[in-house]
Symmetry: C2
Subunit: 331 residues, 2 copies
């Protein structure tokens, strides 16, 4: 049975949502949960007669990396939940790691301890975003590497392709390079060189612009971590702004209020579609192990979906596929 | 009376929306319009008894820079509408220029012929975006300079501050540097150095992230042209995706359809708020003259508002204020 190490400490809201999400996942999927955190706290969150108790293992620890600490601290904090969790994956005592804690710490520890796949110089965070056709796209890097070379961007394309092909089960994923025009000559210095490299990949379809990002024809979006993070947060900001404006306008008239009431179901569907929790976490690609980085604010549903993603990564051997892709060298 | 040179040729839909917008502007504002384009075509669009005919001058030409041409062509095409229009500003025969044509061509010609303000090495395009408080923010650069140095970003901050203070009439505009975290240490190499430079400007309030971009506390957002353009287009893409999803959900149920009908007014307001045409065009800052770059797809309303912006730039002497700011050197 697949074993998932779950950091029960680092999230913004403590152990509660993480345990709750884990219990839900245990009800729906077949895996062994290794919870790392304060034993008493974890125990208090598990109902006495929880059906799948035998599939829970708890490893006690007290320490965790706080959100305002620097990632550099992590390597010295051997008693922290994330340190112990990465050790489990390193020593093959767990098949995957899920953490909603300090993402920088998770990334450094995973890279240093579990190690990089041969040929990968920079592991990348893949963000899963909704498309208008109801499917998802993978954007990477979402913030792990702020300054990238063309070679890094090329490697992101290779990793994203393997992830989408194996986890999303798409036959021939399309890779787009995020840029400011569709033509090859459009972009900045790094993106233009990356374009030339990516042309060697059979999944590459050229530059993609932000206004076509979500229309359904791109499976993998490649960009540096600065741009990727800005895109993610701006998307969030725009969606929030639209909701806020609409709420203001609705409040201005009784007719609109009634209309909004009748539209409740549609709004709910929209909310669900835009809800990050539906997509779980972000896979850390390029590591010799399966690591899913959750949002610090993860609710139980997000944790449940992150665990689902981790299981899926294990089952489909994403890392092995990525390693094979780099070994072959030709795409 | 302020004289505005209007490129009647370069837009995606030909002269029609441009003339229509100009006529509307003439009805509401006091200025002299110099239309550059095919005389016969322009004449055919002006109603015989148009009240403000005496405030229209037409300069005939046949040629214009097509959207798929390179900007480099522009400098040799002396008979093109945009070449003639920039000449008018250069020779002080017009106070400002409005063009919805090839933006690269407009930029190069404006820079080469009208010239840069002392101290500005890179003119920047300022995009005007809606905030949730009903006011606007200025984001620059929106795509003129894809690779920027920290000094360029600093200069964008200075120019944006003067524009917002003088045209939007805000007493002490706040400048935010677009980044991936609020802390000074967050960002890429260029943005971190730009942070240090921008600290010398009294309007600088630190890094701003995409999710807080529209919440109303930032007046000027500074970023390089690659990031700026990606942000603009992604914002467009997200807004479109949300509308598309909502339409799909509404179509699925009669109740929702009725609700949407009742909410029509609210949706209309939202549409108006998100409509680029409401904001006119984008000022090209750092030039020794007033240049407004319109969207290629500008409709009459967008042209009307772009002309309004051009008049406002003239009236408030934005260029002189920018030149003074650079001359003083201290902010």
């Amino acid at each position: 049975m697949i074993k998932i190490a779950i950091d029960a400490m680092g999230g913004d809201f403590g152990a509660k949502p993480i345990i709750e999400g884990t219990l839900k996942a245990l009800e729906h999927q077949s895996f062994q949960a290794i919870l790392i955190g304060d034993k008493a706290q974890i125990h208090s969150q598990i109902p006495l007669h929880f059906k799948h108790r035998e599939r829970i293992e708890i490893i006690h620890c007290n320490d965790f990396i706080k959100m305002d600490e620097t990632a550099a601290n992590a390597i010295r904090r051997k008693e922290s939940s994330i340190f112990i969790a990465t050790d489990l994956v390193k020593e093959n005592r767990a098949d995957a790691l899920v953490s909603a804690g300090h993402s920088g710490a998770t990334m450094s520890l995973a890279t240093l301890k579990i190690g990089r796949i041969d040929g990968v110089s920079r592991p990348a965070i893949g963000a899963i975003l909704p498309r208008t056709d109801g499917k998802e796209l993978l954007l990477l890097d979402a913030g792990a590497n702020v300054d990238c070379s063309p070679e890094h961007l090329y490697a992101f394309g290779v990793m994203g392709y393997e992830y989408v092909q194996n986890v999303f089960r798409r036959k021939k994923p399309s890779i787009g390079l995020l840029s400011i025009g569709e033509e090859e000559c459009k972009g900045n210095e790094v993106s233009k060189e990356a374009y030339a490299l990516l042309q060697n990949h059979h999944g590459f379809v050229g530059n993609i612009e932000g206004d076509n990002l979500f229309d359904g024809h791109i499976d993998v979006v490649v960009c540096d971590g600065f741009v990727g993070n800005v895109v993610l947060k701006t998307s969030e900001g725009i969606a929030e702004a639209i909701v806020k404006l609409l709420k203001t306008y609705i409040a201005e008239s009784v007719t609109s209020k009634m209309g909004a009431l009748l539209m409740r179901k549609s709004f709910k569907k929209l909310k669900k579609n835009l809800d990050y929790a539906e997509y779980g976490g972000a896979p850390l690609l390029g590591i010799n192990g399966n690591v899913i980085i959750g949002h610090g604010k993860s609710n139980p549903k997000a944790i449940q979906n992150a665990i689902k993603q981790a299981i899926s990564s294990c089952e489909h051997h994403v890392n092995i596929k990525i390693a094979e892709a780099f070994k072959k060298g030709v795409h």
